[in-house]
């Protein structure tokens, strides 16, 4: 793979005054996101946390061009997001999106095929490299149903990264995995992110995950979502996902995030 260069760095993302309204079946309109402005630095790893249903995923969709904002502006690399899929993005969804009828290899290559880059020797090298990094070389001819949940997620991660995206959108990608499988795939992710340095927008409910991965954790309030807090994670890079959990910096960052989010839940907490 081409070594990461300055020109390969991720795109900056800018949200200003973003507002998103949903119409419910009952005919009411609900404000999902209200006046969110956010400046995301090129190549940074930003994690969005907040209560369920607060519109974090909607925000990702608005950046991806899958959903349009009702007010405000979203730009990626200075270009306003349109109705088309934003150029340069890859999107890793929460649900399993591997094509069950294609092998691991074909699944990873699909985006390349659409881009007409399949016969490129460079593309083959990229696939080989990704499979090597995530330790899936042995199963490249296997079908998704023959793999474990963790392996399937790794394949999906490769499929997202093979396009060498400038922006990587991740919507609770590891929420269905157990603690240790999750830790290992987080390590794979950090490794690959460090090679390519795309800008990452990562949605999660897991505060431990947020602190482990992020440069910056953005805490959203309940619906209508506004930005409640914006925390810088002080942990140094490169990070060892297993080792950081023991560091006092991790603990204090975790506590700061926890406190920021706690107020949002306090009203519905049963007394001990």
């Amino acid at each position: 793979m081409t070594p990461p260069t300055a020109t390969m760095l991720g795109f900056p993302i800018l949200l200003s005054g973003v507002r998103k309204i949903f119409n419910t079946h009952a005919g009411n309109s609900v404000v999902a996101i209200d006046d969110v402005s956010l400046e995301i630095e090129a190549g940074s790893f930003v994690v969005l946390v907040g209560p369920s249903g607060c519109g974090k995923s909607t925000l990702l969709n608005c950046v991806a061009g899958l959903d349009r904002v009702d007010a405000g502006r979203v730009t990626v690399n200075g270009q306003p997001v349109t109705d088309k899929v934003t150029p340069g993005i890859s999107y890793l969804f929460q649900q399993d999106t591997l094509f069950p009828w294609y092998t691991v290899e074909k699944n990873i290559a699909l985006g390349l095929r659409y881009a007409g880059l399949m016969d490129d020797a460079e593309s083959q090298k990229r696939i080989d490299h990704l499979l090597e990094v995530v330790d899936l070389k042995g199963v490249r001819k296997a079908y998704p149903s023959e793999l474990s949940g963790g392996m399937r997620r790794r394949v999906a991660l490769c499929a997202a990264l093979v396009m060498q995206p400038r922006v990587l959108l991740m919507d609770e990608p590891f929420s269905a995995l157990d603690t240790f499988t999750k830790a290992s795939i987080q390590q794979y992710l950090l490794k690959l992110w460090d090679e390519l340095r795309p800008t990452v927008l990562f949605v999660t409910h897991d505060l431990e995950e947020a602190v482990t991965l992020a440069d910056r954790v953005i805490v959203f309030s309940r619906r209508p979502a506004v930005i409640k807090d914006d925390l810088k994670v002080e942990l140094p890079r490169p990070r060892n996902v297993y080792a950081v959990k023991d560091s006092p910096v991790f603990l204090s960052d975790y506590q700061r995030t926890w406190r920021a989010l706690r107020d949002e839940f306090e009203s519905e907490m049963p007394s001990p």
Partner: protein, 264 residues
């Protein structure tokens, strides 16, 4: 799923015993020979028909014609039904615009097509093939359309995000979703293909087993009736068997999720 090993040995002799007993009763038992004839009466007639009795094409050609029309109709119906099913699933406007007409065609009793098709295509092979193709098409088309329309929406969205267009949606998602439905509807498609051909032959054709059968009914010839009925049954069994074989062959080559055999 573990299959209990079937006791192969006792079944085959039993099956042979059944046909032997039926045959023996038919030959020597209390049977109205005007209605059912007897094997000993049928045998010389079979030879006669095979070589071409007066006014009739040789039997082997009739068999070939019926079989050929069935296979051609089956192939055409499956191909067209599958392709249009996938395409209509991808273009809802096309689907919705043609829905009332397709439903109308589907609602017309199948036999009613024979006079119409005969008017247009004449008393020949083409009418039979089109009749059988139409019936097969309707079954395959509606099944594939349904499955391809309800293809996993997540995968369809993923195609879009990966930069694929309509062609990619059809090729990488809808086609595979439809393929499962196609495989499942194969046995009924085979049966219906034969039904279509025999319909067409019995109502409006000069040769073929269906025509032989209907002529026999009109002339009250029990021998011809028995011969054509038995041959049709044989064709049906052989075709169903071949399709089941094909189904298994395909299922073994297709990825597990389509063959309906999920591992997880």
């Amino acid at each position: 799923m573990k299959k209990t090993p079937s006791p192969k040995l006792p079944v085959l002799p039993l099956q042979l015993l059944i046909i032997l007993l039926v045959g023996l009763y038919w030959q020597y038992g209390l049977v109205d020979t005007h209605l059912f004839s007897r094997p000993s009466l049928i045998e010389p007639r079979l030879v006669e028909l095979w070589n071409g009795a007066v006014g009739l094409p040789p039997l082997w050609r009739q068999v070939a014609e019926t079989l050929g029309a069935t296979i051609a109709g089956l192939a055409a119906g499956i191909l067209l039904g599958f392709l249009l099913g996938v395409v209509f699933a991808e273009f809802p406007l096309l689907r919705d615009a043609s829905a009332p007409y397709l439903n109308a065609i589907n609602a017309v009793p199948r036999v009613a097509w024979v006079p119409v098709l005969t008017m247009v295509f004449g008393f020949g092979l083409l009418t039979k093939v089109i009749m059988s193709g139409l019936i097969v098409f309707l079954v395959v088309f509606f099944n594939v359309l349904d499955a391809a329309t309800h293809a996993p929406p997540l995968l369809l969205r993923n195609v879009v995000v990966l930069g694929g267009g309509r062609w990619a949606s059809m090729r990488d998602v809808r086609m595979w979703a439809g393929l499962g439905a196609l495989l499942a509807s194969l046995p009924s498609a085979v049966a219906l293909a034969l039904v279509g051909v025999v319909f067409a032959e019995s109502l409006a054709a000069e040769s073929g087993l269906g025509a032989l059968m209907f002529n026999a009914m009109h002339t009250g010839d029990a021998r011809d009736l028995m011969i054509s009925a038995t041959l049709l049954a044989l064709i049906g069994v052989v075709m169903t068997g071949s399709v089941q074989f094909l189904q298994r062959l395909l299922a073994a080559r297709l990825p597990p999720d389509i063959a309906g055999d999920r591992h997880d």
